[in-house]
């Protein structure tokens, strides 16, 4: 079921401009329509062994008089080199990324206020509603630009207010969905709707539309406003959302209470632990049941309950010592684990244009997932045909571990070798790991 969800959910690129308001609509709804913007993004793409620019369009909603705009992380990411925003008045202004959080698929932009002032432009802002008060069957509206049809308002209901799905690569290859559940709506959401608000009849933003099922009718998903409110505050404060990580992979306990001799609605199953993670080092393992985290009892009977538990850990400051009350077989014991900073599998990317080689730094999470000894090396994410890396025989998925017999500990080290190659081309020896096979190649000028 989970894998089905992961495969068939796609990311909507949606933009929206809406000015026409229904006569019977509330004042709040009219105000909302004036706060919804279209976002045009040009961003760098590294994948092809060369630096290329890609354009995309999305939507967003203005949240304050200071011009803060909330949108999806898959619409505006740190790779963006140019962001322009089309206001409800159809005027275009530029904007800058304040920060992004792919785990919740949210990004925050700030309109260039100096430009707004100089050009005497006007915009309005929307307000958050309380997404916890939503109930299945409640009427909601999605505002956006599905399939390029601007100023589209669609109406539907909340189909489910607590939908679980986690996607390991849902936001342009980055992980998402581990720390929150989602709102499901049947308000028509199509490619072109992403980043736009899901609102109640009074115009309050209760969600940010993000995804939908391919080939299904009206199965759309939005990030709840209460999650968005927290993330927005963090992004305003520090530009990033920092989370704690233990390395526990949780599973739903459903049907297993009998086996573990647990009363219902008690405990969270540990399906496994990431190799080398704090939880693994502390001795936790698959089959353990976590009963309480720092004294707070947890209940992970159904998978919908898991993101909240994950978030309980993630919300702790990095380096916090966590006490886990664990049941292993008949035995009850406490584990003390210190949290690490949560990292994405996706490391920093770069392109070495003289070699026609795009790479991504091996991150701690990637190394753990792929059973690598450490974070040495860079992952090849693309080669350009006919360039030295391609001619030598490198291909996507290879990990370059050594260059001229020196371990690749950072991108900077590799950049130095590349600069030297660009200045004075000479053969470069690279040691590459492909799955577990180690090969040598020479990059020739």
């Amino acid at each position: 079921m989970k894998s089905f969800l992961t495969r068939s959910i796609f990311t909507l690129s949606l933009f929206l401009t809406v000015t026409a308001a229904h006569a019977a609509m509330s004042r709040g709804f009219n105000q909302l329509l004036d706060a919804v913007v279209r976002i045009d993004v040009r961003e760098v793409a590294f994948e092809a062994g060369s630096k290329r620019l890609a354009s995309s369009i999305g939507s967003g909603v203005i949240l304050s008089d200071e011009g803060l705009i909330l949108t999806n992380a898959h619409v505006a990411s740190p790779r963006a080199v140019e962001i322009s925003v089309t206001l409800a008045s159809l005027e275009r202004v530029s904007a800058k990324l304040v920060g992004w959080d792919h785990w919740t698929d949210l990004a925050l932009l700030r309109i260039d206020l100096a430009e707004v002032k100089r050009r005497k432009l006007k915009f309005d802002h929307a307000d958050f509603g309380d997404s916890d008060k939503l109930f299945p069957g409640q009427t909601v509206f999605a505002v956006g630009t599905p399939h390029g049809l601007t100023r589209t308002v669609t109406r539907g209901i909340i189909s489910n207010n607590n939908r679980y799905f986690e996607d390991r690569s849902g936001v342009n290859g980055y992980e998402t969905g581990a720390f929150n559940t989602w709102l499901q709506t049947d308000a028509a959401i199509n490619p072109g709707n992403s980043g736009g608000p899901l609102v109640t009849e009074d115009g309050r933003v209760v969600g940010i539309n993000a995804r939908g099922y391919v080939g299904a009718d009206n199965l759309g998903f939005a990030i709840p406003a209460n999650v968005a409110r927290r993330v927005t505050a963090e992004l305003v404060k520090s530009g990033v959302v920092t989370r704690s990580y233990l390395g526990i992979i949780p599973g739903a306990l459903q049907d297993l209470e009998g086996f573990y001799s647990l009363s219902s609605n008690t405990g969270m199953l540990v399906n496994g632990v990431d190799a080398g993670s704090p939880a693994a080092r502390a001795g936790l393992r698959g089959g353990d049941i976590v009963l309480a985290i720092n004294g707070t009892k947890v209940d992970g009977r159904f998978e919908e309950q898991l993101p909240a538990i994950q978030n309980l850990v993630a919300s702790l400051p990095v380096g916090t010592t966590v006490k886990l009350a664990v049941k292993r077989g008949a035995e009850l014991r406490d584990f003390t684990v210190q949290t690490e900073k949560l990292e994405s599998r996706v490391g920093e990317e770069w392109v070495f244009e003289k070699w026609g080689l795009s790479v991504r730094k091996v991150s701690r999470a990637y190394a753990r997932e792929n059973q690598l000894n450490d974070t040495t090396g860079v992952l090849v994410i693309g080669v350009q045909p006919g360039f030295p890396a391609d001619v030598a025989g490198l291909s996507r998925g290879d990990i370059i571990v050594k260059i001229n017999q020196q371990a690749v500990s950072s991108l900077a080290a590799m950049k130095n070798v590349h600069e030297a190659f660009a200045a004075k081309p000479a053969p470069v020896l690279v040691e590459v790991q492909r799955n577990r096979q180690v090969s040598l190649y020479v990059l020739k000028p």
Partner: protein, 469 residues
Amino acid sequence: MKFISLFRRSAVWAAVLLTLGLHLRASEVSALWAERVKCVVAVEYYTETEADRRPSISYGTVIDANGTIILPSVAVNPRAMPSQLKDFKVYRPGNPNSLPAQYLGQDALTGWHFVRVDEASRKELTPVTAFVVKDTPEPAMADEVWGIGLRNKDEDFQPYLLSSHIAIVQSLPQRTAIAQQEVAGPGLPVFNRAGAFIGLAASSFGSNFIQFSREDRGGFPVIMVNVEESGAFQTAAEVLPYLSRVPQNIYGRPLAWLGAYGLEPMDPDVAKFLNLSGQSGVVVSEVLDGSPADKGGLKDRDLLIAIDGQPLPRFKPDRVILSYIDREVQRRHPGDTMALTVLRGSDRVELKVTLGEEPRLVSEADRKYFDRLGLTAREFVSDDAVARRVKSTELSGVIAHYVKPNSPAAAGGLRPDDWIKEIDGVEVKTYAAAAERLAAIEAGKIQTECVLLVSRGGVTSVLHVKLQP
């Protein structure tokens, strides 16, 4: 389809006869044909698994008066266990009646599978050695050669003539002649004009084609492999010395073992960079814990450049060196030593490795099918540890070798190749313990459900398997 290709071939052959007048004449062939066709056979057997029973057919050559037959290595799926191979039958060309036979095992050096016809039927066959002529030179470019092809089973494996000229002779690493067209069914002998045995047809090489269709005008590159006929054969000198390597048991043991994993050849550019031009070298990706290579001092990422003081020869293509090294190990016995020269960084290191006996293979692993659960549990062997990147010396748990679709095990989320580490919260230390536990569960006396801790792709999960009452 097959008829057409056969027709074309004979048409070409007739044309060549007319123009050059140098070629096999009908009278020559018929004299040689009748005797030589008795050394080729088709071998049919069944592979029995939990789910099905499938026939396979391959070609074989009779090698001695004991009715021993060799089949090419591709004749048997390497994942199949010898005990799953059943009902070997040998068919003589053009004869619908089969002769019963036994499977003897595979030889690691040549890759051949050996089969032996039951005693009563042996006189029907002639060994290929009857056509060995002493001092026959290695075939050379332009030599005319011929062999036998066999039609399908529904045509009684009717034999037919194939002939061609040698185009090139290469070391791969065995001396291999490649003819202009197909000269024999894979695994069948090749003869010269005088009828002397000069080689054994290998699996045919792929040919590159571009496939066009009305929908896709661009053309799509495909590689086509002819599985019925081959144009490549290993020369007699690569065959005759090894005919005595009849396996002592169906597992082909003893098997010499080095324990160097993931050998990767270097290309000429790398060789030049490392001042090793004119020779070959291979990177040893990993040295397995506790293996002979480990004990002999070989390290991960060493660059192997010589064996017994002989620099590794350069072959074309580069990957041929891997077969060369494999053969260097397999021609030795457990206990033999092998002197290795490696480059480690910029140091040249000389090592002496005493080869060991290959650990138990997947094909030798104990296994049992539990019908109610829908699961075959298989002993965890060294290769499983290697595949899962755990120490090959720490063998525990069992592998779900087969999971029956829609069975209780499958419904519980178990998949083939899952590594079962705990059953009902109890660590599985040995195969025997797991088999006993699963048998008890299946008997249903104590419980009708079980909880498995399995590892898949390095990630563990807890699975709940319920038996139907």
